[in-house]
């Protein structure tokens, strides 16, 4: 499989994402500079974490106007898979590829820790391989990860089953204490209506090897890898 990992000025999880895709899963991953206007021949796009453009103005606000994001818009409109992690999630929201916005953590503090994440639905390319009831332990590291959308949007997210991940405690309950940033409905990640674009604040790419304290993030990678494989098989047939 061929992945494009976007690289904006001050992306800082780009190396981690490439490492996971290449060295953990054995696929080809290419860093794509934000000034590129074409994605080339790729199966999926990964927008990594970081503080693109210094997080100045608003997180993700400036990055979304990069030339490469125009190409991502087209790619997504054609059904291509796009996953945004942390700053990547923020960029996707700013770009309008995902609804809502990510604002300052309610505590006003940068949170850097492992959290428990529950997969709300298996019905997406990003969650298909997560076993039922599995709680994933994945690190977060952000100051602006509080998911916000107006009530109408939230109820649409719910009725369309677009909420993919929620912050929970070790019993799987979406409590206020388990919510590290004040997100509405404990939302950790969502997808678009078409289900081919997703974003989440936790860092699955930093939880793909037991050596790093957890390998639960693999489940997200395995989900979309599996989805892409099936898609390619279907195409070939």
């Amino acid at each position: 499989m061929n992945f494009a990992v976007l690289q904006f000025p001050a992306s800082n999880c780009d190396q981690d994402a490439v490492h996971a895709l290449r060295n953990v899963f054995g696929h080809s991953a290419r860093l794509l500079w934000h000034k590129e206007t074409s994605l080339g021949d790729v199966d999926a796009v990964l927008i990594p974490g970081g503080f693109s453009y210094g997080d100045y103005l608003r997180t993700g606000a400036i990055a979304r106007f990069s030339p490469v994001m125009q190409a991502v818009q087209t790619f997504a409109a054609n059904g291509g898979l796009v996953l945004g992690i942390c700053n990547g999630f923020q960029i996707l929201c700013e770009a309008g590829l995902l609804p809502g916005a990510l604002i300052r953590n309610r505590s006003l503090q940068f949170r850097c820790e492992h959290v428990f994440v529950k997969t709300v639905t298996k019905d997406s390319p990003f969650t298909g391989q997560v076993p039922d009831g599995k709680l994933m332990r994945i690190p977060i590291a952000h100051g602006e990860g509080c998911y916000f959308a107006d009530e109408e949007t939230i109820s649409r997210l719910k009725s369309n089953n677009q909420i993919l991940w929620q912050y929970v405690n070790d019993k799987g309950e979406a409590t206020e204490v388990a919510n590290p940033n004040g997100s509405v409905q404990n939302i950790a990640g969502i997808c678009n209506e078409r289900r081919n674009v997703a974003g989440l604040m936790p860092h699955p790419e930093r939880a793909c090897e037991p050596l790093l304290g957890s390998a639960d993030g693999r489940l997200i990678f395995e989900s979309f890898l599996n989805y892409l494989q099936n898609k390619n098989v279907a195409k070939a047939a």
Partner: protein
């Protein structure tokens, strides 16, 4: 605006003693002009020359087969960790700026130490801090403390470089004089080690990073200056403000550039900015260097040579490029949208020659300026409490397979919890670096 006359008063304001001034005259064979006086004053300050602490620093152990670059030799020391890999690390203080503006002072301290690490060719992976404050009962101390801690956190978080440990003590003696030490560690392969030497006569000298402003200019030096119509504030110079975004770009561009083999020497502009970086690179290589200040990007209007040479604007680098490879360098800086300028070249004169629009404004033997600051032996006495401390040996610490777990238990009840994940991660990162160079290594 003409330069002020060199009076005993002005010399004193520059922190130079009459003896030191005589020494300067001996080196130059004449009286220094105003710009040269400023240059000597910063290079011979404690901060840059360690004229008081050098004899003590010399007592540290600095020789071992594992040491690839020794302490004080370059921008950071480098130690071999096996498998062709090495770690570069250094700790540095940012006390004074933090006392003036705790958040920005501490943030730029972290910025400075990160620069020292990637200047060596290493990719920084973690930071540590060591802090001293007065008693927390004082509101002023609380303000300094919270400002410093958030400044350190902010810069590191932006960069994605975790602050994995720290220590702090509160005591009356630090009232009004906090100590803020920042440490950074980076990983590199032996063949990636870069040097801060201006090698190769005729090689062009590049300036990269944001424009030079009046940031961090010492107040004393300005006291005697005539106030023009510009506001007093502009005259006084400004607090250094950190821009982690800019530094991240500078770092990525420099690491990309170092991988091309187009670089002959590289040094960050830390304390005493252009002054320090030009004379030290020349001194290390035994060469001379000539720059023209009119080519230096400037943020404020009407900056004098004195101001440009002494500015402490952050996130700037000096790069000596192999002649003929300029285009590659320019391509990489342009890719990262970084301001750059070719400001001079390496000479065989052993002198640091500074011009402004072609007119000489300073001409000083580089190595005398960089390496021949006076050294003072201060009186000292060993405090009582050190005796039991010195009796401690490392053998008293139990061996462990679980370094991360141990670190956790080492800090009973201290506010580490939110960070412990990172502590574990980083220790493991270092372990990983040893195992597979691919995992961490740069493009």
């Amino acid at each position: 605006m003409s330069d002020p006359a060199i009076t005993p008063e002005l010399i004193k304001q520059h922190g130079l003693t009459p003896d030191e001034f005589e020494r300067i005259k001996g080196i130059l064979g004449r009286e220094p002009n105003y710009t040269e006086l400023g240059i000597f004053s910063v290079m011979w300050s404690e901060h840059c020359s360690y004229k008081n602490s050098r004899p003590l620093l010399k007592t540290f152990p600095t020789k071992s087969p594992k040491i690839l670059v020794g302490a004080g030799e370059e921008n950071a020391g480098i130690i071999d960790i096996g498998d062709g890999l090495a770690i570069a690390f250094k700790i540095e203080s940012h006390n004074h700026p933090s006392a003036v503006e705790p958040f920005q002072g501490a943030a730029t301290g972290v910025g400075g130490i990160i620069r020292d690490i990637f200047t060596m060719g290493a990719r920084p992976v973690c930071a540590v801090d060591s802090l001293r404050f007065g008693e927390l009962t004082s509101p002023e101390v609380r303000r300094l403390f919270s400002g410093v801690v958030s400044g350190i956190a902010h810069y590191g978080n932006c960069f994605g470089i975790p602050t994995i440990a720290g220590e702090v003590y509160f005591d009356k003696v630090y009232e009004g004089n906090p100590l803020v030490n920042a440490f950074c560690l980076g990983v590199l392969r032996h063949d990636q080690i870069a040097r801060g030497a201006a090698k190769g006569i005729g090689n062009p000298v590049f300036y990269v990073g944001p424009a030079t402003g009046r940031d961090g200019l010492a107040g004393a030096a300005f006291a005697s200056q005539d106030l023009t119509e510009e506001s007093a504030e502009q005259q006084r110079g400004a607090v250094q403000v950190g821009d982690p975004f800019m530094e991240k770009l500078v770092m990525e561009a420099c690491l990309e550039l170092l991988a091309t083999d187009a670089v002959a020497g590289i040094q960050d502009m830390g304390a005493a900015g252009l002054t320090c970086s030009t004379c030290e690179t020349a001194a290390r290589a035994g060469t001379g260097i000539e720059i023209d200040l009119s080519k230096v990007p400037q943020r404020a209007p009407n900056m004098t040579p004195y101001e440009i040479m002494l500015s402490e604007s952050q996130e700037r680098m000096l790069i000596i490029v192999k002649k003929g490879r300029e285009a590659e360098v320019q391509r990489i800086f342009d890719k990262w949208d970084l301001p750059w300028a070719e400001i001079g070249f390496v000479t065989d004169s052993s002198r640091m020659v500074v011009k402004n629009h072609g007119q000489p404004v300073a001409d000083i033997p580089a190595s005398k300026l960089a390496d021949e600051a006076p050294i003072y032996q201060r009186e000292f006495k060993e405090p009582e409490y050190l005796k039991p401390v010195r009796a401690f040996t490392l053998n008293e610490v139990p061996d462990t397979q679980d370094a991360a777990g141990n670190l956790k238990t080492c800090s009973p009840g201290q506010p580490l919890p939110r960070r412990t994940g990172f502590i574990a991660n980083t220790i493991i990162w270092c372990a990983m670096a040893r195992r597979s160079s691919q995992a961490l290594m740069l493009r």
